[in-house]
């Protein structure tokens, strides 16, 4: 469903992606792990055109991703994104955040958008927070609203950019369990994360990225339990046993 072929990307003189080739099938959950600055987030941002890429090709269901072309709008409505810092619209309530896209981008009738918006908020466990503005919600609640906002576009895939990294530890579980439910329901997901437990339990495949290249990839359990490459082994040892 999502294909990357030899994707290169530089910021100025720094090449952050040095030839990424990967694919994500329908209903697959792929976790991208790796040290900070390895290019993990950049991959996600290139997939939905928040960043352009210099060489290679990215396509979503056969349509080429070009951040400078009008077609990017259609791709973005199919591939939603959830951010590390939530990026909810603070001047709108939780429900208004969720229905913003359906109302103004997809031009759905209001009653229909509101009904589905409320159902989605219920799905992420926030039915009672529909009329609350984001600054009055906890980080975990905000992130769940953000997931509902992404789902409201009825996307074919969702990209998660470190969705739990900005959360207090005790709030991480609520967000991860919402994501796990999505995975169980067959949503195609690409998740950049440091939550190795989530990757092991929920992901079908794991990509380990370091220095802008895919160092190792494979079934989640085999990469995480028996990493083959020394860099993957080193990274996992540091993450799982920091002391």
């Amino acid at each position: 469903m999502i294909e990357l072929r030899d994707v290169h990307k530089s910021f100025g003189k720094v090449e952050v992606l040095k030839g990424i080739t990967a694919s994500v099938a329908k209903s697959e959950v792929v976790c991208i792990i790796g040290p900070s600055g390895s290019g993990k987030s950049t991959i996600l941002r290139c997939i939905n055109g928040l960043e352009s890429y210099d060489r290679g090709e990215i396509s979503v269901e056969g349509a080429r991703v070009d951040s400078n072309d009008r077609s990017i709008v259609a791709i973005r409505t199919q591939v939603s994104m959830v951010f590390q810092r939530f990026n909810l619209f603070p001047h709108r309530t939780a429900l208004e955040n969720v229905i913003e896209g359906p109302l103004y981008v997809k031009k759905e009738p209001r009653e229909q958008a509101v009904a589905r918006g409320r159902a989605l908020l219920a799905q992420v466990g926030l039915a009672d927070k529909a009329e609350v503005h984001p600054p009055k919600l906890s980080g975990g609640q905000q992130q769940r609203v953000a997931i509902a906002r992404a789902l409201a576009m009825q996307p074919k895939a969702i990209l998660f950019d470190e969705p739990t990294s900005a959360l207090d530890p005790e709030l991480v579980g609520d967000v991860l369990s919402v994501m796990r439910k999505l995975a169980d329901d067959g949503m195609t997901m690409v998740v950049v994360t440091h939550e190795m437990g989530f990757a092991r339990d929920v992901a079908d495949r794991v990509l380990f990225i370091d220095g802008g290249v895919i160092v190792e990839q494979g079934a989640a359990k085999s990469v995480l339990n028996q990493p083959q490459h020394p860099r993957t082994q080193d990274f996992l040892r540091r993450v799982l046993h920091p002391l």
Binding site: F89, G101, Y104, V105
Partner: protein, 217 residues
């Protein structure tokens, strides 16, 4: 003091005609400067190089010319190019253009203060540039823009007196005319100053209201 009140009764009705024109010039040029300023600011943040450059150049040219020269230019020079405007029209257009530069810089600062993540979130739900501006950026930028906007309103009220230089009989010119024909300088200009002050006070209170509201957030 009694003489002052006596003069006031006599001159206030004439000065009020000037007050009316002052309000017309201020409101007219405020509207024009707001619209133009918003256009310059949106051009500036559009990310399209030609528009950005054009807007930056325009703002600098406008900022670099004194208001009075701009007014003379529009009122006295434009007729040479076949554009003859009434003094009132020229005043509103001149002040509107002059202040559009300051409005633009204020709007731009407000727009650029909005977190980039907001724009990215809007993009990821499929919003285009204009929809992102209208639904996400501008509603949030307004809180930042309003307090300085109030100050610009006060400055424009006072600078509307520059319209007197191209014969618009607003409050300042009306005062000068009465003073030069009656020689009652003290009474007349005290009244003129009080009238400007009276018009400024609601604006000053409005600015305070905006500031409180912005700080509460």
């Amino acid at each position: 003091m009694q003489k002052f009140f006596h003069d006031a009764v006599e001159f206030v009705p004439i000065l009020l005609q000037g007050v009316w024109l002052t309000i017309v010039v201020t409101v007219g040029s405020l509207l024009l400067s707001t619209v133009l300023g918003l256009v310059w600011a949106l051009m500036r943040v559009s990310g399209i190089r030609i528009l950005t450059g054009l807007s930056a150049a325009l703002i600098n040219v406008i900022r670099g010319i004194p208001i009075i020269v701009l007014l003379f230019y529009i009122y006295f020079v434009m007729p040479d190019f076949g554009i003859a405007l009434s003094a009132l029209q020229a005043a509103i257009i001149g002040l509107g253009i002059a202040y559009s530069a300051y409005q633009a810089e204020n709007f731009r600062a407000g727009i650029e203060a909005i977190d980039k993540g907001q724009i990215e979130a809007a993009q990821t739900i499929g919003m285009g540039w204009w929809l992102t501006m209208r639904r996400v950026v501008l509603p949030q930028a307004v809180r930042i823009i309003l307090p300085p906007y109030g100050n610009i309103m006060i400055m424009m009220l006072k600078d509307s007196s520059q319209a007197s230089t191209i014969t618009v009989a607003e409050l300042a010119l009306q005062g000068k005319l009465i003073a030069s024909s009656t020689f009652k300088n003290t009474s007349v200009f005290t009244l003129v100053a009080l009238m400007y002050l009276t018009m400024s006070i609601p604006l000053i209170l409005l600015v305070r209201h905006f500031e409180n509201k912005a700080n509460r957030k």
